[in-house]
């Protein structure tokens, strides 16, 4: 099972250490973690994708709620949240394969971010599925480097940062 959590935290120094520390010391399986400012710059939203069995996932939510800096924890899993992910992928593109790689890039509608003689870097923005598709599509040409942000998610309609 997987859970997509949105954790709103006070933007205090060390808050990420508290969140990350909880994950490691309780042995939770985190697939991705993404943190960034919200519409209120004193509050950070941390999106966490965790996997595990039911009781463990329930514990994860409760333990996060206990952290002093945590303002609220929302489990977005069943809310059909709006999700998005960003990735930068550098793919090998030499000689004849360059045209083929470009073809795939165009086919997937990816944006070129950098062009080198023997490689291309593209920016993928979309859902996790879009990112996975780009990765799979470019894999045959040789992925030289990749950076993924991890999932960010909002419930719809967006919950206010400092709701009740």
């Amino acid at each position: 099972m997987k859970k997509i959590l949105s954790i709103m935290v006070r933007n205090r120094p060390g808050v990420l250490s508290h969140v990350a520390g909880l994950v490691t010391r309780r042995g939770y399986n985190v697939e991705s973690i993404a943190a960034g400012p919200t519409e209120n710059n004193e509050i950070t939203r941390i999106n966490l994708v965790v996997s595990g069995d039911g009781p463990i996932l329930e514990q994860v939510v409760k333990q996060f709620r206990k952290l002093v800096d945590v303002i609220r924890v929302d489990d977005l899993t069943n809310d059909e949240p709006v999700t998005g992910e960003l990735a930068l992928i550098t793919v090998r593109a030499e000689g004849l394969r360059r045209a083929e790689a470009l073809n795939v890039i165009n086919l997937l509608g990816l944006k070129l971010s950098d062009i080198k003689e023997d490689s291309l870097t593209v920016l993928v923005a979309g859902t996790a599925i879009n990112v996975d598709m780009a990765v799979n599509g470019l894999k045959p040409y040789g992925i030289l480097a990749m950076a993924r942000t991890g999932l960010v998610a909002l419930s719809r309609p967006p919950a206010p940062s400092q709701g009740s």
Binding site: G21, E58, K62, R65
Partner: protein
Amino acid sequence: MKAKSKPSEKKSAAGAARGPERARQTRARAVPRNGAQTIIDFLESVGVEVIFGYPGGAVIPLYDALYDSKIKHVLARHEQGAIHAADGYARSTGKPGVVFATSGPGATNLVTGLATAHMDSVPVLAITGQVSTTSLGSDSFQEADIYGISIPITKYNYLVKDPRSLPGILAEAYRLTAYGRPGPVLIDVPKDIQTTLIDPGNLLPDSVPLRFEPTPTPDLRALEAMVEAISISQRPVLYLGGGATITNTGDDIVKLVEKADMAVVATLQAKGVFPDNHPLCLGLPGMHGSKYANLAISESDLILGLGVRFDDRVVGNVRRFAPLARVVHVDIDPAEIGKRLPVDVAVIGDLGEVLSLALKRLKDNRRPAWRERVADLRASFPMAIPVAGKEIRPQAAIKALSDRCGGKAILVTDVGQHQMWSAQYFEADKPRHFLSSGGLGTMGFGLPAAIGAQMANPGKLVCLVTGDGSFQMNVQELATVTQMGLPIKIMLINNGCLGMVRQWQQFFFNRRYSQTLFDYNPDFVELARVYGLKAERVESPGKVAGAVERLVGGKGAAFLEVRVPRDENVLPMIPAGMGQTDFFETEEGGN
């Protein structure tokens, strides 16, 4: 906001102050104070009476500010001693214990104490010095990242980087220690923050202040389900934990037990909340609980856990714990519900409130058959002390101490066999009168915790039962006992080995006593005398009562070494991870 409200708090605290005291406080309001003075002012304003600590380079300004204060300071001989003492102070009163330590090694020496307090939910405020903000992160002399180190073993922690945030942090941190489920909070204060003047008119407000919301009222449906579960139960067992001590709900628990004829088991943290000598009190459950306590659990059809963690030392095998019972769990911390054991009914809230609501709804429901069964179990499997031969039985020595104290003492224990024997044979009938490191099991906790308890309760009899292993882990604190003139009574159970581990090696490791036997021990009586205590040793069973009388009856600090055989075991015993009825039987038969 909170920071700005401080002067008014001060005003009310100073309401009755006269003469120089009032003048000093007026001055404090008028003149900007530096960070160190701000800390001391704050601690005075919230009524802190004692600080435990140890100075060092990075807290010289803090100690300088303390020099002018009316707050007493207990100079420990090791920072670990200081924090366990603050912990003992807090456990015996419910008020936050305050500890100071310097940066680097001073701060890291607090680690075990923080973890001890964290595990047993004890309110402790630790204030550590840190290298100046300008040197932070450059591996300066005596620099250690205590903020990072203490994250997993504190309820919350702070590194003060802006002097203008200090007043707000102090107020929030102090309140956090005892708010909801208590725990330790650490504030790391760089030296330059301590020396910088703080202008009360120019503070850094917290943009998203922490809301100290009142504990949510218990869900009525859950409460009704709990009452219903109690009403239909035939064989209810009340399982008390630290939450019962923290909320001081002993009176309501007695009412509940008498209304519903429940059998009672109590963890180390709850010992004394319900009187040990009550016929329905079955004492400690779990690994070293009595057979009757564990058999009652295994026969019961309702386990009502009040402020407990369903700790592995109590539950053993989760799947085999109380197989016939519905489980009702009351706790203030939602994360404790279902953490180890699935429960049938969960009530989240303040135990005091839950109990008073439940008592209103519960009808008298006597269960003579269950009372009789409990009495049967007690009679069939008594906690009998093995008959004394030529040597003293440690259980008998502890029982003698218990008899002499007659419920008047605060008993502090260390960790190991003597701790379990104390839980089994030392009678407590009041909460906060049995102090023991239960969750973390910290050897060396006892002596400093006894110091803290005695500081908090100057007129009270404070006894320590310790072992020859534990005692030497913080033996330096004997100097603190003597310096402060504390009349602590120390009973050292000396079996010349690390008894609990030796016992496991005997039972489960084929008697291979790897590194558990002390081939050398100091002469403890001489050691205690060197530190200024009256001390004696007792080696024969016939002389125990007299020696205990001299220990407890005399004036001032006293020390009694009780020589006991190496091979005495703590029984009964349920091996780790086993079911409630899997008592370990020795060839000696056990009890």
